[in-house]
Amino acid sequence: MIDIIEVNPVWALFAPVALGVLALAGAALNGILVSRAERRSFRSGAAIPVFEIARLMRQRRRTTVAADVLLWRIGCAGLVVVAVLKTAVIPVGPWVLADIPVGVVWFNTMDVLVWALVWLIGWGANSAHSLVGGYRFLAQAVSYELPLMFALVTPAVAAHSLRVSDVVAAQQELWFVIWMPIAFVVFCMSVVAFSNWGPFATAASGDIAGGILTEVSGVDRLLILAGRYALLTTGAAFAVVLFFGGGAGPLLPSWLWTLVKTLLLLAAFVALRHRMPAVRPERLAEVAWIIVLPAVLLQTLAVSIVVAVRG
């Protein structure tokens, strides 16, 4: 049994560093998969994120005619901030920065902010392609948000609490992934969707010249791309906490278990990008509302009944 304790707030300085390292690992894995497909060396692939960071640090920012610069820059910088704020409630082994009574809601609040931020990136540039990217993200968000909320609620129902440490403690006997698989899958898909990644990256896809990324260069672009990986990483970490018993595991110390599980899940998310074509928002809406939402509601109902019967 892991007792989760709040650590000294000074560790908040360390959280973004850890998040950055994990996100970089995700980006490196993506680079490796890309370069392996192109038959280039493993090392050149793993270094792609480093090259890209250097390139974007060297590149100038740009602006467009009549851009809404303030809102645009807020959008660009915001994704990373949101991801860092999410780390506050994610326990690493026995330690957490803030074990607030509504930790699960905190996570959800942060990913609702992503709606606004991505829209601002699309809106601010005053460019048709960016704007279409923004529209696409909102259309996609309407599809994933409700299923995501119910997927988040399900472990909380089973734990009788919205406090993240209680959710971890409730998985002492059985990981939630085993008896709420639908909620787990829906949560993972939603993480990929709000990170604007892989099959759900239509807001930034090549057919609209990069969509929300069309007009962004230099450090702004770096922040958006880093924000995507950071959101993917925090999403994986939160899935570990909600469904995989947090730091529970044999032999290794519990903080290491959290990291290992997070990395494995992150790798699965990254690899998903290379497996399937894009899911267009209007096609997603159909499936999300007619199949996924009822399915996850049934999952919540089933869990609620089990919890009620067991008292």
């Binding site: 390139r55 100038r60 005053n126 696409r136 099959p199 057919d207």
Partner: protein, 406 residues
């Protein structure tokens, strides 16, 4: 200066190149893509994403000014390069990399260029809609308005200023959309430079949201015809083997575009590698197995089937290609699978020799272009992009005749 040069050294390991393909220089563009993949570089999706602007071929006047506008949108450090023959690609890219490393040059470039983004009413008024990264308001129609308004303001400050004009550009006006609601109307050109887009094509769209209300197609011509030094240019006097190679290259290039637009970058990469292997001289039988595998995974993918469901390219193609064993495959997915099947059969030489001759390319391409407005009407941009890629328009023959406008 150690840090700066280290940074520059790292940055030039992954250069993003924006490729402007002039009609007729498809082979050069393919060679560029192959060379980018070999170096671990990548194609840029928009000017903001690019370090190098690479012009393949000799652009005509309109393409040239589109090119100037794109150039003004590159954030910098930026390098502009041009390549005419496919054999020069490697050396041109090498030179571009050296120029990217030249810090002094970029300092002076940054000092001399305007800090303000080019306004839609400067002298290149006719082409500003050319760039993919263009701002919403920069359409021909609106540009003209902006110019007039500006003149008026200088002379007569009492003009009606009820309507705010951010950046000197009037706001979009509203209009009833397909659901009967009022929605902003934007005039947005697609092309001539977009990823996976036919060379030189511009489709001037009227958009509401991302739905195309009306569209007009035109092709911006080249300044000269390519010298027939390669596989794509010129059709006369080539061996049967060359024709088979050309057929496989064209089909896999087209398949790569559709797959990339469907968001399946890995399958697109496989199609592109098959294309590049054939272009670089690998035996056709050597790629047959790869083609089989690709065709299999494309055919089996239920997500692709689902995402392309119901997207059709009209009946022009079926009528024009009746002799090519493709009739009936009118959906985008059908076209894609048809290409891959044809490519693998051609690679194995299961077909009669005459089958991969093109049938009157000019008339077919013209009819395809004239179909664009009808096909695109009422579709969203994603669908429109898939339809245009599935039409597989060859823009070069159309521009090489005197009357290039449709």
């Amino acid at each position: 200066m150690g840090l700066r040069s280290t940074l520059a050294g790292c940055a030039t390991h992954r250069v993003h190149v924006l490729v402007l393909e002039v009609p007729g220089w498809g082979e050069t563009r393919m060679r560029v893509e192959a060379e980018l993949a070999r170096r671990g570089w990548t194609s840029a999706t928009s000017p903001a994403d690019a370090d190098v602007l690479l012009v393949c071929g000799k652009p005509g006047e309109e393409l040239e000014s589109a090119c100037a506008r794109l150039w003004s949108q590159l954030p910098g450090p930026r390098v502009r390069a041009a390549v005419i023959t496919a054999s020069d690609v490697a050396s041109t890219l090498e030179r571009a990399m050296d120029e990217l490393l030249d810090d002094a040059r970029h300092h002076s470039d940054a000092r001399t260029r305007s800090r303000q983004p080019a306004k839609p009413r400067d002298e290149t008024a006719h082409t500003e809609h050319a760039a993919p990264g263009d701002s919403v308001e920069s359409t021909e129609h609106d540009v003209d308005m902006a110019m007039d308004m500006d003149v008026d303001m200088d002379m007569d400050m009492d003009m009606d200023m009820d309507m705010p004009m951010p950046g000197g550009i009037p706001l979009a006006s509203g209009g009833p959309d397909r659901d009967g609601l009022e929605m902003d109307v934007l005039h947005v050109p697609l092309g001539p430079v977009l990823p996976h887009w036919p060379a030189g094509l511009v489709v001037r769209c009227v958009l509401q949201g991302d739905v195309i209300v009306s569209a007009q197609a035109e092709i911006l011509p080249a300044a000269a015809q390519p010298i027939g030094d390669g596989l794509v240019a010129g059709d006369s006097g080539r061996s049967v083997d060359d024709k088979r190679r050309l057929a496989v290259i064209r089909r896999s290039d087209a398949a790569a575009s559709v797959l990339a637009l469907a968001g399946w970058s890995f399958a697109a990469g496989r199609a592109r590698r098959i294309r590049d292997a054939v272009a670089s001289g690998t035996a056709l039988l050597g790629v047959a197995a790869d083609l089989d595998k690709l065709a299999q995974s494309v055919g089996r993918s239920w997500t692709l089937r689902w995402t392309l469901k119901g997207i059709t390219v009209g009946d022009t193609l079926a009528q024009a290609e009746n002799g090519m064993g493709q009739s009936g495959s009118e959906t985008v997915r059908g076209r894609l699978i048809g290409w891959l099947d044809e490519a693998r059969r051609t690679a194995r030489d299961d077909k009669a020799e005459g089958a991969y001759e093109l049938q009157d390319p000019l008339a077919l391409q013209r009819s395809l272009l004239s179909e664009i407005p009808r096909l695109l009407n009422g579709t969203d941009i994603a669908t429109a992009r898939l339809i245009i890629a599935a039409l597989e328009i060859e823009t070069a023959p159309v521009t090489q005749t005197p009357q290039s406008r449709i």
